[in-house]
Subunit: 327 residues, 2 copies
C-alpha cells in the first residue's frame, strides 16, 4: 500500500504533514510518497529527527494556496505539490491520496485529474461530524453549491457504501436534510430527491431536521453542498461560541474558577470531541481513486488519522462497490 | 393600543396564553382581545385567579393545529381562533396580532387575510437568535423554502427597518449567509443577491459564513427560508446536544457533581440565554399589519414578551417605513 501525500498543503505544512506521514508509516507500515520541495522536506526531517523506514520524495517547488482559484491547479499551478500528487495517484503510482490543502483544489484535482467513476454525475465531499454519542456523516459538505435530485441520490448511495466499509456501519441509515419530516416538505429539490432516495438501494429513513442531526439519529445525512457547508460551519461556530460563554462563567470569580478546575479535564474532552480536526479527513467520493481531504489545520495526529482513513478507503475497494451500486 | 391574541395557539394554550396576556396588560396597559372558546377561557381565568382590567373575548370553538394543512386556515378552519384573530386585525379591530400556533398557518393568514404591503414579493419570518454577547436577527427563518434574489433583497430591507425600530439598532449591519466571504461565492441565488444587496439602501456588509453568525458579528443575516430554517434548528440542536454532553460530565462522579453545583446558576443562565423561547416571537414582515408568531412552546412570560414586541412593532410604524423604503 502506497500513499501519496501533498507535503505542502495545510496551515501546518510541511512539518506536521511530514510528522504525520512518519507516524502513519510506523503504525500502519505503508509506503509514503511526499510531494514538495525536496530540500525543505529533507531539512525538516533532519532538524526534527523524524524517521522514515523508507521514503520517496517527488520534488516540486510550487504550492497552490487557499487564495488561488481552485481551477489554477490545472494550469498555473499544474506543478504544485498537490497537482503532482494527484498525477502520481491518477497514473497508478500510489493507492490513495491525502492533502490538507485547498478544498476547492482537491475537488478540482479529484474530478479532473483523477476523474469521475463512470456514471457519477458529480463527486462530493463527505465528513464525519461529532454527535452526542458518536459521529454522523454529512455529504455534500461543499463541493457542489448547486445540486439536482439525481446528484443527491448518488451522494446517498456513495455515503452508504463509505459508511458501511470505512466506518464499519452495516446497513447504515441515510436521511435527507430537510425542514420537516413529511415527504411534502422543503423545496422542489428535496421533494424530488425524497422520491428518488426512497427507490435507491440504501437504507433511506426519510427526512431529517437539522435539530436532530447532532443527536446522531442517523448514520448519514444527504444534502446539497451549499446547505452542507452552512451546517458544518454552524455546528463548529455554535459549539465554539458556547465554549466561549462557558469560559466566561468559569472565570467569573474565584469559587467558579476552583469548581471549573475540577471539571477541566472532562470539559476538555468534550471540547476535543467537538473539534472537527479530531474526526479525520473528508473523503471525496465519486472519483476513481481514494482521495482524502484532511482538515486545513491538521497537526501530525490529524494527518496520521487521515492517512489511516485513506488506507481503509483503498483496502476496502469502496470505489469498486460504489461503481457496482450506481448501476 | 389593542392586541388580538389567538388564545388557542401553542403547546401551552390556552392557560399560558391567557396568563401572558394578563401580564402584558398589567405591565403595558394595552387592551386585549382573546379569540377562542369563551367558556373555556372564562373558566381558565376564574380557576387560576387571572385578572384583567378589561378584556374582550371573541368566541369561536374551532382550532387549527400543527398537523392541519396551513392553507386550511382559509376554508376548513376559517372559524378557528387564529383565523378569527387575523380577520379582526385585518378589519381594523386591533393594532397587532400574536399567535403561538402553527407557523405555516400564521404565514398563510398574514399573507392572504392581512395581505401584503404593496410591492412586497413575499412576506418572511424573522427571528432574534442568541449570540455570544447578544442576539442577531435571521430572516427568512422558514416562510419561503424557495427564493429569488429580489425576495432576498426585500428581506434585507425589511430586516433593517425592523432592527432599527423594534430592536433599537441604528443603521444595523446586514450580511448575506453564504459559504465564503467573496462576492463570487455560493450558488447563483447568492451571487445575484449579493449584487442587489450592494445597491440596496441598507448597511450591507457582504457575505457572512455560518461559523461567524453565533459570534454576533452582524445585526441581521439574510437567507432563504430553507437555509434559515436549517440554521435556526441546527443552532438549537447543537446547543442542546452540547448541554447534554456537559450534563454527562457533571454527573460523572461525586466530585464533579459538587463542582457542577457551584457553577449551576451561571450555567443555567447560559442555557436560558440559548433557549429560543427566551428571545421573543418572530415578526412576519411584509404584511400590512403587525403580526408576531410566538414560539410554539411559549409560557406566560414568553407570551408577555411577544406581546411587548407586537406593541413596539405597531407603535414604531415599522410597516409604514418598510413601505417607504421599498419604493
Amino acid at each position: 500500500m502506497k500513499i501519496v501525500i501533498d507535503a505542502f498543503g495545510g496551515d501546518n505544512a510541511p512539518l506536521e504533514i511530514i510528522k504525520g506521514a512518519a507516524l502513519a508509516q510506523a503504525e500502519y507500515g505503508v509506503d509514503i510518497i511526499l510531494t514538495g520541495d525536496e530540500e525543505i522536506i529533507n531539512k525538516c526531517i533532519k532538524e526534527n529527527n523524524i524517521t522514515f523506514k523508507k521514503l520517496e520524495v517527488v520534488h516540486t517547488t510550487d504550492v497552490i494556496s487557499m487564495h488561488d482559484e481552485p481551477t489554477s491547479l490545472l494550469k498555473a499551478h499544474k506543478d504544485s505539490s498537490m497537482a503532482v500528487a494527484f498525477r502520481i495517484l491518477s497514473e497508478g503510482g500510489a493507492d490513495a491520496f491525502v492533502s490538507a490543502g485547498s478544498t476547492g483544489a482537491v475537488v478540482v484535482g479529484g474530478t479532473l485529474i483523477v476523474k469521475r467513476i463512470k456514471g457519477v454525475k458529480r463527486p462530493a465531499l463527505g465528513t464525519m461530524i461529532p454527535s452526542v454519542d458518536g459521529k454522523f456523516f454529512l455529504m455534500d459538505m461543499g463541493a457542489n453549491a448547486e445540486c439536482r435530485p439525481e446528484m443527491l441520490v448518488q451522494f446517498g448511495i456513495m455515503a452508504s457504501v463509505y459508511l458501511e466499509n470505512v466506518e464499519n456501519r452495516p446497513n447504515p441509515t441515510i436521511g435527507l436534510l430537510n425542514i420537516g419530516t413529511e415527504d411534502t416538505k422543503g423545496d422542489e429539490l428535496r421533494q424530488e430527491t425524497y422520491k428518488l432516495l426512497s427507490e435507491a438501494p440504501i437504507n433511506f429513513v426519510g427526512n431529517i431536521e437539522s435539530r436532530e442531526m447532532p443527536k446522531g439519529v442517523v448514520d448519514g445525512v444527504v444534502t446539497d453542498g451549499f446547505t452542507g457547508n452552512i451546517a458544518l460551519k454552524l455546528i463548529e461556530g455554535t459549539a465554539s461560541s458556547l465554549f466561549k460563554m462557558l469560559k466566561g462563567a468559569f472565570y467569573k470569580n474565584l469559587i467558579n474558577k476552583l469548581a471549573a478546575a475540577i471539571l477541566k479535564k472532562d470539559l476538555y474532552k468534550i471540547k476535543a470531541k467537538m473539534d472537527a480536526s479530531e474526526v479525520g479527513g473528508a473523503p471525496l467520493l465519486g472519483v476513481q481513486k481514494p482521495v482524502i481531504k484532511a482538515h486545513g489545520s491538521s497537526d501530525a495526529r490529524a494527518m496520521k488519522n487521515a492517512i489511516h482513513q485513506a488506507i481503509i478507503f483503498a483496502e476496502k475497494d469502496v470505489i469498486g462497490t460504489i461503481s457496482a451500486n450506481l448501476k
